[in-house]
């Protein structure tokens, strides 16, 4: 294997710890660099702090009372973890797709343009253009183009999840966070979502918590293994799944626990 210079970091996480009010520590002293235009996979057993890390990256942890965050997160070299950060602007740059698809109680069209409307985009032509672009990127356009004004809840689970992806893509964020986006989906829908991710990474930086080790291995340009709030190890590509350095990683990827 030849040594190449590492790609530029989109996000740099420096000694990040997150503590909940009840004293439980969700993340302990994490340092990680997330390269631009790659898929970074955060994997490990439940309760490892992966979701907490995702929610630190777009400050959704702020919605929970009494969360204490120490350390720093830099987005393009600019600190986004401290007080005084414009979290509304940040969340437009760092979008998120959740484990359960939650279509807002509106039409398909309204769901996709919702973020644009919030951002004050009044130009209807531009909204229509973004709508189609986002739905195409999420591989949903062909299935919904004839019924954009139908309620979004009428879509199947897989379609709803791709709608949620389209909703984030319409905002043209720089980073997309995905928290087990395919956990409720059938294999065909899962394949469609994974295919979309491979395509959109040219334009965006993707951070995903996969729902299985197999999915982690399929998607990873970089993988990070989390165990009980600790970052055990990080490696490029599929390395962690083939030749992990740590015994704990090996035990998990070979299915000895988890």
């Amino acid at each position: 294997m030849s040594m190449t210079t590492p790609p530029p970091a989109k996000i740099t996480i420096e000694r990040l710890s997150v503590q909940y009010r009840d004293g439980t520590e969700s993340l302990r002293d994490i340092s990680l660099s997330i390269p631009a235009h790659q898929i970074t996979v955060l994997f490990g057993p439940a309760g490892g702090g992966k979701s907490t890390l995702l929610r630190a990256l777009n400050r959704l942890n702020d919605l929970v009372d009494g969360v204490r965050v120490t350390g720093r997160i830099l987005l393009d070299g600019e600190e986004i973890s401290g007080p005084g950060v414009d979290t509304v602007a940040l969340r437009r740059r760092v979008g998120m797709v959740f484990a359960q698809p939650v279509p807002l109680p509106m039409s398909i069209r309204q769901n996709v343009v919702y973020g644009l409307e919030l951002a004050g985009v009044r130009d209807a032509a531009r909204r229509e253009w973004e709508l189609e672009k986002a739905l195409r990127a999420a591989a949903l356009w062909d299935e919904v183009q004839d019924r954009l004004d139908a309620p979004a809840v009428a879509l199947s689970g897989g379609q709803q999840q791709r709608l949620c992806l389209a909703r984030v893509l319409a905002l043209e964020p720089e980073v997309i966070l995905l928290d087990e986006p395919t956990s409720g989906l059938d294999p065909i829908s899962t394949a469609k979502v994974e295919q979309s991710l491979q395509e959109i990474k040219r334009l965006y930086t993707v951070v995903i918590v996969p729902h299985s080790v197999q999915q982690a291995a399929r998607l990873a340009d970089q993988a990070a293994f989390f165990l009980q709030g600790e970052l055990v190890e990080t490696a490029a590509g599929r390395e962690l799944f083939v030749t992990p350095r740590e015994a704990r990683t090996n035990d998990y990827v070979t299915g000895r626990f988890g």
């Binding site: 009372d65 959740f98 939650v102 905002l171």
Partner: protein, 281 residues
């Protein structure tokens, strides 16, 4: 006794309880309708009372109750919804908000005549509004607020938290999230609470007794500073204060009040049923 006999006995008892509780409502409404209906005519609904209220219509009382209800809504609805939004969406669990909640619960339990006395002291005398529609509406509004606040807060809390998280994750501010997602979803529940609160305001006598109601007025009120006749107080007056009062007029008035209140109730039920059918969660 076998299990089946016990089962049948319990079933019979429960059915009986259901009938016993429903029967009075049916009897009351039926009796009032049967006795009062002959008195109700277009003239009865649209003319002033005559002959010391022993004849003629109840038009000023209908207008008065309409004005009092609308005025109460004007004050209580924006205030109540705003308070509910604060409590459901913004307030953290502190001593202050806990005190506010306890106050609201206790306000709901205060007898209406006490509200009337409070309105007399504060609005009529201290603020010098006199016996007026304004003083009556403010008094009724204070009485109605706890109902509106608690039902509206409940309706807001029933909106799934995931909608809020999604909206915020898409770059929404808290207020954008409330206005575009939470409020529209909670609106049917809020409206139900508003109507039930105003319905109570329309039917109460005690709060307007010292603050707004007039025994008899030869003309309709001209401004918010005038006293007014009102259906519940008029009913009280013609039932107890006037000798030789024809019974049909008493029951006719009761019927009009009943229809007024029940139709508000019906509107609330329809709104709720339609919202439930359309709800997407």
């Amino acid at each position: 006794m076998s299990r089946h006999t016990t089962q049948r006995l319990a079933f019979a008892l429960l059915t009986l309880a259901a009938i016993v509780t429903t029967a009075p409502i049916v009897l009351i409404v039926g009796y009032i309708a049967a006795t009062g209906l002959p008195a109700v005519s277009w003239e009865f609904l649209t003319t002033m009372p005559r002959d010391g209220m022993r004849a003629g219509g109840i038009w000023p009382a209908i207008v008065g109750t309409g004005l009092l209800t609308a005025g109460t809504g004007l004050v209580a609805v924006p205030l109540g919804i705003a308070a509910a939004i604060y409590l459901a969406e913004y307030a953290k669990d502190t001593t202050l908000t806990r005190a506010i909640r306890i106050a609201i619960i206790n306000l709901a339990g205060i007898p209406s005549v006490v509200y009337g006395l409070f309105g007399l002291g504060l609005f009529v005398l201290f603020l010098n509004f006199g016996t007026s529609i304004l003083a009556g509406c403010l008094t009724l509004a204070i009485m109605t607020l706890p109902v509106i606040i608690s039902t509206a807060e409940e309706a807001l809390r029933a909106v799934p938290q995931s909608f809020r998280v999604v909206s915020i994750s898409l770059g929404g501010t808290k207020w954008q999230t409330i206005r575009r997602v939470v409020l529209p979803q909670a609106l049917p529940g809020i409206l139900t609470g508003v109507i039930l609160g105003l319905e109570r305001a329309a039917g109460e006598t005690a709060p307007i007794l010292f603050t707004a109601a007039a025994f008899f007025l030869p003309q309709l009120p001209g401004s918010a500073m005038d006293a007014t006749m009102a259906l519940p107080y008029h009913l009280f007056v013609i039932s107890t204060q006037i000798p030789g009062m024809p019974i049909q007029i008493q029951y006719g008035t009761a019927l009009v009040l009943l229809v007024f209140v029940l139709s508000m109730n019906l509107i609330a039920t329809v709104i709720r049923a339609r919202a439930r059918a359309q709800r997407q969660w």
